[in-house]
Amino acid sequence: MGVLSRHAARAAVTFSIATLFASPVTPALADTSGINAADTAWMIAATALVLMMTIPGLALFYSGMVRKKNVLATMAQSLAAVAIISVLWVAFGYSLAFVGDGPWLGTLDRWFLAGMKMDDVNPAAKTIPEALFMLYQMTFAIITVALVAGAVADRMRFSAYLLFSVGWFMFVYVPLAHWVWGGGFLATMGVLDFAGGLVVHLSAGIGGLVAAKVMGRRHGYGTENLAPFDLSLAVIGTGMLWVGWFGFNGGSALSASPRAVMAITATHLAACAGALTWGAIEWSTRRKPSVLGMISGAVAGLGTITPASGFVAPWHGVVIGIIAGLFCFWACTSLKQRFNYDDSLDVFGVHGVGGMTGTLLAGVFATTAIGGTSGLLEGNPQQLLIQFYGVAVTLLWSGAVTFVLLKLVGAFVPLRVSLQQEMEGLDISQHGEALQ
């Protein structure tokens, strides 16, 4: 009897594990009329584009700006973000962020995609399969976590980075995604964030700033030559980010629609205006427009238009891109020097300031003709106040939680590599490999 019950128990455990890991996305012949082939095709492409933004896009953009001895370690951070966050997103991230509409957090109904059938849809995107919506949103979570790493490049221990990334994803990204996009309290208030000015750029930017302060400056910062290893890599990375951003902002329309086209147009124009503005400032003040300056301006323009892209007219992209170039240039040069923090790759200066600026500008330029919401210029100052509120909540939440997380992780693993390892380079000390 005892043996039998053990068999029964083992069989039950085996069955439940098998159920858990058996593909929950089962073939179905049910009515799929709500699912639209064009939308699905575009969103598959957009998902691939946004995934490309992290590896190779961000990996190249970041690693081109560090020194040669830290190139692989910097790429490893992007690569690890893809691997870890994808698994966590499927496990619980998606469900907590996008399933259920509680003010603070969703539910665990879809943990490990439980019960998700092939023709299911999420209420937020009724014309594409829910699995595709889940994948698309996954790519946003990935790049947001990977973005933060730029602030602590050249000095963070890989094990500490992994622990920090898991915590940051769980306690910063997932709640914010729910609050802004998943029906949480910011969504209910009417905060406009088309593709992630708050959820992605500001949260990563302020997280990066806090991390840079907690980690301390790099050895030799301000005295030694920390010039980029290979800016040509950074230019290639920027190109991939730029193209990928078409999926990032265009895909956020969640349909193959005119609104997606408007968003992409504004996005491209903002990137161009940002690159031109940053280059022009350098040309006028330092006699030469640097390549790093122009790509920084392009990324600043892209990050800044992101929250506004589906709410504003295309020409607003030019205005927003110019403002992005001005503000982000000031943040990366004057502000950074004044407060003397070492945000290695200017995550705060480019993404944080860009995300914040763009979110506020969405409240200024939003037009009913594009996104159905009017902003300040159309006589709705209330929207700008709501945008301010969204910025404040994101700043406080991401900043505070990042700080606590780093202190927690630091209690288990040293956050920084040793001085000797930092001098030797993270490629060798963290990964046992190096570029020759």
Binding site: N225, L226, A227, S290, L292, T333, S334, K336
Partner: protein, 112 residues
Amino acid sequence: MKLVVAIIKPFKLDEVRQALTAIGVHGMTVTEVKGYGRQKGHTEIYRGAEYVVNFLPKLRIEIAVSSELADKAVEVITNSARTGQIGDGKIFVTPIDHALRIRTGETDSDAL
């Protein structure tokens, strides 16, 4: 026999090589090096951070020539490597005690 060592700007290599070939110098060794003289490097600015780059990329050319050819070699290197700007480089000439071609075992002037 003389060893002529010239430190030149990298983009001048082709001109120098053609000029040396024209006067009968058949081989040379070229090494990528970094260094500075009175030029004292230059300043680079990355997002507002200024870095002084002390060691600039240069090429080091070594040619072994007969003593009679040494002066002519120095002259053509000087003419072909000159831009008139600071940082054009330097030429050093030293005597060679002994030379040997590894493949044939020929020595001294036969080995050049």
